[in-house]
Amino acid sequence: MIDIFANLWLGLGVSVEPMNLVYCFLGALIGTLIGVLPGIGPTATVALLLPITFYLPPVGALIMLAGIFYGAQYGGSTTAILVKLPGESSSVMTCLDGNAMARQGRGGVALATAALASLFAGVVTTLVIAVAGPPLAGVALAFGPAEYVALMLVGLIGAVILAHGSVIKAVAMILIGLLLSMVGTDINSGQMRFTFDIPQLYDGLDFVPLAMGLFGLADIIVNLEETEGRGVEPAPIHRLWPTLQDFRDAWPAALRGTVLGAFLGILPGGGATLSAFSSYALEKKMARDPASFGKGAIQGVAGPEAANNAGAQASFIPMLSLGIPSNAVMALMVGAMMIHGITPGPQIMTKQPELFWGMIASMLIGNVMLVVLNLPLIGLWVRLLRVPYAYLFPAILVFCCIGTYSLKNDPFDVLLMAGFGVFGYALKKLDCEPAPLLLGFVLGPMLEENLSRAMLLSQGDLTVFVTRPISAGLMAVAVGLLALILLPTFRRQREVAFRD
């Protein structure tokens, strides 16, 4: 216990350095600013803002990225509540009752509830990360290649569960991500794979053009198609502070949401969406009046908001301690760390404690900053929501293009992004979700390397996955998840959950 406080103290020391505070503040501010814009979810926001952080020192960059991530999450909730446009699946649940509240003129209360529930969940989960990270990293040191393969399988199957629509298509998206990750020179043999003799591809595809194309450009095209270029009209806001009765109704839901989120978020493949869905279902079951859900029940905002924040933050645990991203946003974070020359994994904690603990402590500060920033600025965000899309999307376009260009000062990356934009739009037309693709793309090289090493060590014996205890346990989880997907009753429930 004392260790944890000593470590957190070390981290706080790092994160209150003036420049780091500034990065944290800027990250939260810009993250909210972009995240509020309709049609840009947290994943797209983080992808859009990544290039800004390339020029910072590693600790500052990670702190700023984490700030961007909370800001984007919170901005997404604002849009969900005020205009019923969830930027990402994790805020779908907030839409239901949040927007109903907004239409009753209680949008301000819904926003404040969301902010406070997120703050509470964020602080609690940060402590969970501080407690659970080190022991997990200890476990991770015992991991061999077989365990890593098993863990990644669990994560990938988890991503399938959370994708919309067809399971087969979600698996296919992961496979395409894996396929794209192979582009470039094979490290072991020097064999050029899928490079089409284009020199820029020899070092592999960068994930910035991929992510910006799939999430930034494709979303613009879809939004223009759906709204025919018109903007969206946000609901008006009258009062901001919840009443005492609201507090009484909301806090138990926020507490339950936090616990659910912190637990589900740790599972690879879990994270924000699953937590928010489960919390909403739980609150609906627990409520004295389940019929009020969907008509502006404050529990339906507090629970899922706490849960998605807790889940989103808890998904830092597998990322930081095992080096395995459990969702698309974490995949982006891993990509950003690699660009700074940091390999996420158990060794971070021992080799770069000020980085690890600085980032964790900055989560505390970031969450507080977010609320301080947002409650007074809600009026500004609402005005931002009123910016016509005709002005907004050209600005997003410019940002995508320059951001991608700035990666290597090479227009080729911009062309790649244009290609992935069209590809992403085609995928949406075919009802294929691109998030699992990004996860597959980031996990690809790790998966190939560990698979081939595991097989080399066992001399081609596949039973190694079930004879080593940790690997066997993870494989059992993977099979269990797979069985769950194929179970007819679960399938129906999953479809209902996504249709709601």
Binding site: L179, L180, L205, A390, Y391, C401, I402, Y405, K429
Partner: protein, 158 residues
Amino acid sequence: MTHTRTPPRRRSPRLRSPQDLVAGLLLSAIALGGLWLARDWAAGSLALMQAGFFPRLICALLLAMGLATMLRGLTADGPPAQGWAWRPSVAITVAVVAFAALLDRLGLVLAILALIGIGGLAGRPLRPGPLTALWATLATGCIAIFSWGLGLPLQIWP
């Protein structure tokens, strides 16, 4: 990497789920393309994987998923293929390509004009006045952030 994309077709009376069929065709085409590109790479064995092993494994799995989706498109009822929004998709793509082509030749300021000018056609185009204002704001903002702030070696003027 393949950008093969099959444009969604009009609804045909015999097909039960054209969307799934098209998706299946696209996935299978990508998988077959991958297998074809990987045809000369040594695969090695399970104990000693070579560069061709993983690509083939993934493409084979992808092909299976593609065929399964196609099969479902033929046997189960599903949504029709959705229309392709040509105007936004073409305008956005052309605008981005134009930006990439012009940036190193004509500089950032004019490349941004091309980007928002062509890109604007994707939605409701702005009138010249607002367009100029947006252009000036975005160009100034980008120069301030990327050129002065981050010190990126950007060519600004032609």
